[in-house]
C-alpha cells in the first residue's frame, strides 16, 4: 500500500493525516528543512526537528504553531509513528521516517552525504520505500570533500590582495558551510551581506564553529575591502549593493559550478563546486544502503536516475512536487 501520495497540496500521508513539506496551507505540515521551497507559510500546525526550529521561526514568524522533536524521537501522527533523522543538507535538515504497521517509508527531503561541519551527518534509515531527491542525478556530478574546495576558495581569495573578493552563495546553509569549512584553514574575519546575518547568528547559537563575521557597514565609506572576503547572496550580484566594492573579483559557490559552461553562463569569473545536495554516487549509495525496494523520486533529473535504477532492477516511481530542482533560492 502507498503510505504517501502526491496531491495538489504536497506529499500526503492519509493514515497519518499529515503533509510533508506542503506548498499550500494544510492542517498538519511536517517540515524537513527551512529552505523556502520546503517550508511554506499558512499551515495550521507545523512539526520539525528541534535544530530546524529557529530557522523556521525566522522564516515563518516567531509565533509559528510549531512542535519540535529530537532526532529519532518517535511521535504519533494519526495511525502512524513519525520520527526525524538528520539529512546532512543544512542545519536541522531531517529525513522523515513514517512507520505504519510493518511498513516503513522514509521521505528524505534534500540530503547529502559529503561531510559538512555546519550540520549533522546523514543517517541511513533502513526502509521499504525511500523518497529521494534527484537534483544532481547525473554522473558528472561528483563533489570534492569540503576541505578541498575550501582550500581552493582560500587560494583564490589570498592570491589577489589588491581587490575585494566577492563570493556569492545561497544565504541559508551554503554561506555557513563556507564559514565553517574555512574556519579550519584561517582565522580571518569575513564580511557578510545583511541577508546572511540573522541566519549566521542562528548557526552560531546552534554551536557551529565558524569564522568571525562582520557587516560591511562596520566600516566607513572610505574603506576599500582590498584583500577581504565578502559573502553575499546571488541576488546581490550586479546589484547597487556591489557598487561599494571597487573592481572586485567575483565567484559563485554552487554544485552547478562543476560544469564549465554553466560557470560561464552565470557570468561569474570563478566557480566553486560546493553543494548541499547529494551527487550521483551519493544518491546511488544512499538508495542502496536504505535497502528500499521501492524508490520515489521527487525533483531534479528524475528521468536519468529512474532509468538507471530501473536497469539495476529497482522499482522506481515519480512524485510530481513543487520542490526546486535548481537548489534553493535563498
Amino acid at each position: 500500500m502507498d503510505l504517501i501520495r502526491a496531491t495538489n497540496e504536497g506529499l500526503y500521508c492519509p493514515v497519518g493525516d499529515f503533509y510533508i513539506d506542503p506548498w499550500r496551507p494544510v492542517a498538519n505540515a511536517i517540515i524537513t528543512h527551512a529552505h523556502a521551497d520546503h517550508a511554506h507559510w499558512g499551515s495550521r500546525q507545523y512539526y520539525s526537528s528541534a535544530k530546524c526550529a529557529p530557522l523556521l521561526q525566522l522564516r515563518l514568524g516567531e509565533d509559528l504553531p510549531l512542535q519540535t522533536y529530537l532526532p529519532s524521537e518517535k511521535f504519533p501522527m494519526g495511525k502512524t509513528w513519525v520520527s526525524f533523522h538528520p539529512a546532512g543538507h543544512i542545519l536541522g535538515s531531517s529525513q522523515v521516517r513514517i512507520e505504519y504497521g510493518s511498513h516503513v517509508w522514509v521521505a528524505s527531503g534534500d540530503y547529502k552525504r559529503t561531510p559538512d561541519p555546519s550540520c549533522d551527518p546523514f543517517e541511513v534509515v533502513p526502509c521499504d520505500t525511500f523518497i529521494s531527491e534527484a537534483t544532481f542525478a547525473l554522473p558528472v556530478y561528483q563533489w570534492d570533500r569540503g576541505e578541498v574546495t575550501a582550500k581552493k576558495i582560500l587560494e583564490w581569495w589570498q592570491q589577489d590582495q589588491e581587490r575585494p573578493s566577492l563570493l556569492f552563495c545561497y544565504a541559508l546553509g551554503k554561506a555557513q558551510r563556507i564559514l565553517a569549512e574555512l574556519a579550519r584553514l584561517t582565522d580571518r574575519t569575513i564580511y557578510i551581506h545583511g541577508a546572511l546575518e540573522a541566519i549566521t547568528n542562528i548557526y552560531r547559537h546552534a554551536g557551529v564553529k565558524m569564522l568571525p563575521t562582520a557587516s560591511i557597514f562596520d566600516h566607513d565609506k572610505g574603506y576599500s575591502f582590498k584583500g577581504d572576503l565578502i559573502l553575499a547572496p546571488p541576488s546581490a550580484h550586479r546589484s547597487p549593493w556591489m557598487k561599494r566594492f571597487k573592481e572586485p573579483q567575483t565567484a559563485f559557490a554552487s554544485g552547478w559550478m562543476l560544469v564549465r559552461g554553466t560557470r560561464r553562463r552565470k557570468g561569474y569569473e570563478k566557480g566553486f563546486a560546493l553543494s548541499d545536495h547529494a551527487d550521483w554516487n551519493e544518491l546511488n549509495q544512499t538508495i542502496q544502503e536504505t535497502q528500499a525496494q521501492t524508490i520515489f523520486l521527487t525533483h531534479g533529473r528524475t528521468d536519468v536516475l529512474q532509468r538507471y535504477l530501473t536497469e539495476q532492477g529497482k522499482t522506481v516511481r515519480l512524485f510530481q512536487t513543487e520542490y526546486d530542482a535548481h537548489e534553493e533560492a535563498s
Binding site: V140, Q142, V259, R260, G261, E269, K270, W280, R307, Y308
Partner: protein
C-alpha cells in the same frame, strides 16, 4: 603540464585582460622554451590537428568502463563538451587523483611523446587501457586539459594580442615584431621559440627578400648559344632593382642593396597592398612621367629621403616594371622555369590594374641581327639596352649561372667602390675631389682599377667630402683611405688588359656617371665582370 593547467585555469576564471596578461607573463617567465612554444601554438589556435577524435575518445571510455552509452549521452547533453564530460566522469568513477601528483610530465612530453604514443596503439582494448592509465595519474582538471589536447579542441578565452603582449613584456621585444614572427608557418621546439622572442632582428623571415639573380654582360660565348626561341628578350631599364614582398598582410620593398625602401616609395607600397597574399615579384623601380620613363637622375631625387613630400611625389612619380615572380600563392617558385614564372607574374600583375605597375614587355626576335638592331633602339624606348634571359632557366642566386645576360647600348660601365680620396687643386684644394675606385677580386678584396675626377655635381661633392672626412681610415700625405661603403657607376671609353696594373685591366677616360646610393659595397662589380666586359668589347671592335 601543471603550469599549463594552472595557466588555463587562471585565464579561464577571470574577465580582466590585465589578469590574463599577468598569468601569461608568469607562465612564460618560468616555462622552458619548448613548453613555451607549445603553449604559444595552443593558445593562438595554431594547432588544430587532432590526434584522436572525440568520438574515439568516448569509445575508449566506454570500452574500459562498460558504462551505459545512453548515460554518457545524457551527460554530454548536459555538459556540451566531450573532453569535459569524460573528465567529470573520470572523477565520478574514481579514475583520477583528487590532488595533483608530485611528479610532473612537461607539456612538451605530452605533445611530443605521450599523446602520439597513445594515438599509435592499434589495438582498441590496449589503447583504451593506456588512456585510463594516463588519466589515473592526473586530477579531473588535468584530465580535461589532456582530453582537449588529445582531441585538438583546445580553446581558451585569450586573444593572440594578449599572448603577444605578455611575450613582449617578458622578453622585451616590441609587440609588432613578435606579431610578424608569428605570422608565418611556425615550428615547434626551442629554436622556433627563440626566433619568436629573440631580441635581435633575426631573419624577420616574412619581410626578407630572396637573393637577387644577377646578369652577366652579353659576350661572344653567349652569342654562340643564342637560339631566338629559347631566349626571352626584354628592355633593360635604368632604375632601382627591387623585390616587392606581400606576405602576412604586409608589404615590403627591398632594393638590391637589401635596403628596406618601403617607406621611400609610399605610392608603390600602397598599390602593392593589392597583391595577393604570399607574393614576391622582382622588377625595376622607375620614374614614370608623361608616358615615358625618366632618367636615373630623376629617380635619384627619390632616394635617401626619410620623408617623401607631396611635391616630390608629384614631380617624380614612381612606377614599377615587373619582370619576374619568385613567390606565388606563398610558394617559392624560383626553381621553376622562367616560362612558368612569367605566366604567374602575368596573372599576378594583371590583378593589380594600375598604370604605375607595368609588366615588362617581351620582344620577339628571330635572328642575331635583329637582336643587335633592337639593342640600338633601346634609347628610344627609355632603356639602356636589352636583357636576354633563358626561358628554361631557374631564378638563380647571384651571378652563378648564365641564365641572364645584359646587353647595354653603352656597355662600358662598371660599378666600383670608392677606396681613396685626395684633395683637388686650385679652387677645389680644400675639398676631396679626386677619387680612386676599386673592384672585388675572387678573394673578396677591393683592388683599385680607376681614378676619376669628374661627374658629380657640387652638392654631391660637398656631401661626399663631408662623409670622407668622417670616415677616413688612414692618411697617407694628402691621400685618405676611406671605409668601403659608397658605390659609383664608372663609365669609360675603352678597356684593355694591362700587366702594369694590379687589377690586370686599364680603362680609358674614366668618369663618374652617378653615385649609386641604391647599392652597397658588396654589390659592386668584380674583376671577373671587368674581364667579361673586356672580352665583350674586343669582340665588338
Amino acid at each position: 603540464m601543471k603550469d599549463f593547467v594552472k595557466l588555463f585555469d587562471e585565464i579561464d576564471s577571470t574577465t580582466s585582460t590585465n589578469e590574463k596578461v599577468e598569468a601569461l607573463k608568469d607562465y612564460f617567465k618560468h616555462a622552458t622554451p619548448t613548453d613555451s612554444m607549445w603553449t604559444l601554438l595552443l593558445l593562438t589556435g595554431r594547432l588544430s590537428k587532432r590526434t584522436i577524435t572525440s568520438r574515439s575518445l568516448s569509445r575508449m571510455f566506454l570500452t574500459q568502463t562498460h558504462y551505459p552509452e545512453w548515460l554518457l549521452e545524457e551527460c554530454w547533453d548536459h555538459v556540451g563538451d566531450t573532453a569535459e564530460t569524460l573528465s567529470l566522469l573520470a572523477h565520478s568513477l574514481n579514475l583520477c587523483r583528487e590532488t595533483s601528483s608530485q611528479t610532473d610530465t612537461s607539456l612538451t612530453a605530452w605533445m611530443e611523446e605521450k599523446i602520439p604514443n597513445l594515438a599509435r596503439i592499434k589495438d582498441e582494448e590496449k589503447q583504451s587501457q593506456s588512456l585510463i592509465n594516463l588519466w589515473k595519474k592526473l586530477t579531473a582538471q588535468e584530465i580535461f586539459i589532456l582530453n582537449k589536447l588529445i582531441t585538438g579542441a583546445f580553446r581558451v578565452g585569450v586573444s593572440e594580442k594578449l599572448v603577444i603582449r605578455a611575450l613582449s613584456e617578458v622578453y622585451g621585444v616590441p609587440t609588432d615584431q613578435i606579431a610578424h614572427r608569428l605570422s608565418g608557418n611556425l615550428d615547434t621546439g626551442e629554436q622556433a621559440f627563440e626566433r619568436v622572442v629573440s631580441q635581435e632582428a633575426v631573419a624577420a623571415n616574412f619581410s626578407q627578400p630572396y637573393p637577387f639573380c644577377l646578369a652577366h654582360p652579353w659576350n661572344e660565348r653567349s652569342e654562340k648559344n643564342f637560339d631566338p626561341k629559347e631566349w626571352c628578350i626584354e628592355w633593360k631599364y635604368d632604375g632601382i632593382r627591387a623585390q616587392v614582398i606581400r606576405r602576412e598582410s604586409h608589404t615590403w620593398i627591398w632594393s638590391r642593396g637589401e635596403e628596406d625602401i618601403t617607406e621611400t616609395f609610399p605610392e608603390l607600397t600602397e598599390i602593392f597592398t593589392h597583391l595577393p597574399e604570399g607574393t614576391v615579384i622582382d622588377g625595376e623601380i622607375l620614374v614614370f612621367r608623361n608616358q615615358r620613363i625618366s632618367s636615373f637622375q630623376a629617380l635619384q631625387k627619390r632616394l635617401g629621403r626619410k620623408k617623401v613630400s607631396e611635391q616630390i611625389l608629384k614631380d617624380y612619380p614612381a612606377g614599377f616594371m615587373a619582370y619576374d615572380c619568385l613567390e606565388f600563392n606563398s610558394r617559392d617558385i624560383r626553381q621553376e622555369t622562367l616560362k612558368e614564372r612569367r605566366k604567374k607574374l602575368e596573372k599576378t600583375v594583371t590583378k593589380i590594374h594600375d598604370s604605375k605597375v607595368l609588366l615588362s614587355p617581351t620582344i620577339d626576335v628571330d635572328t642575331l641581327e635583329e637582336l643587335n638592331e633592337l639593342r640600338m633602339k633601346a634609347r628610344e624606348r627609355d632603356a639602356e639596352g636589352l636583357m636576354i634571359k633563358w626561358w628554361a632557366g631557374v631564378y638563380s642566386v647571384g651571378r652563378k649561372t648564365g641564365n641572364w645576360w645584359k646587353y647595354k647600348v653603352d656597355p662600358l660601365t662598371l660599378d666600383a667602390v670608392l677606396l681613396y680620396a685626395q684633395s683637388g687643386t686650385g679652387r677645389r684644394s680644400n675639398l676631396y675631389t679626386d677619387y680612386t675606385f676599386a673592384l672585388w677580386n675572387e678573394k673578396k678584396e677591393l683592388i683599385p682599377f680607376a681614378k676619376a675626377y669628374s661627374g658629380l655635381d657640387q652638392s654631391e661633392i660637398d656631401e661626399l667630402d663631408a662623409w670622407i672626412r668622417r670616415h677616413t681610415k688612414e692618411k697617407f700625405g694628402p691621400v685618405r683611405s676611406v671605409q668601403a661603403e659608397h658605390v659609383f657607376e664608372i663609365g669609360f671609353e675603352g678597356i684593355g688588359s694591362s700587366a702594369r696594373h694590379k687589377s690586370g685591366i686599364a680603362v680609358r677616360f674614366p668618369r663618374i656617371l652617378r653615385w649609386r646610393k641604391d647599392k652597397k659595397a658588396e654589390d659592386a662589380d668584380t674583376l671577373q665582370s671587368a674581364q667579361e666586359l673586356l672580352r665583350a668589347v674586343n669582340r665588338e671592335e
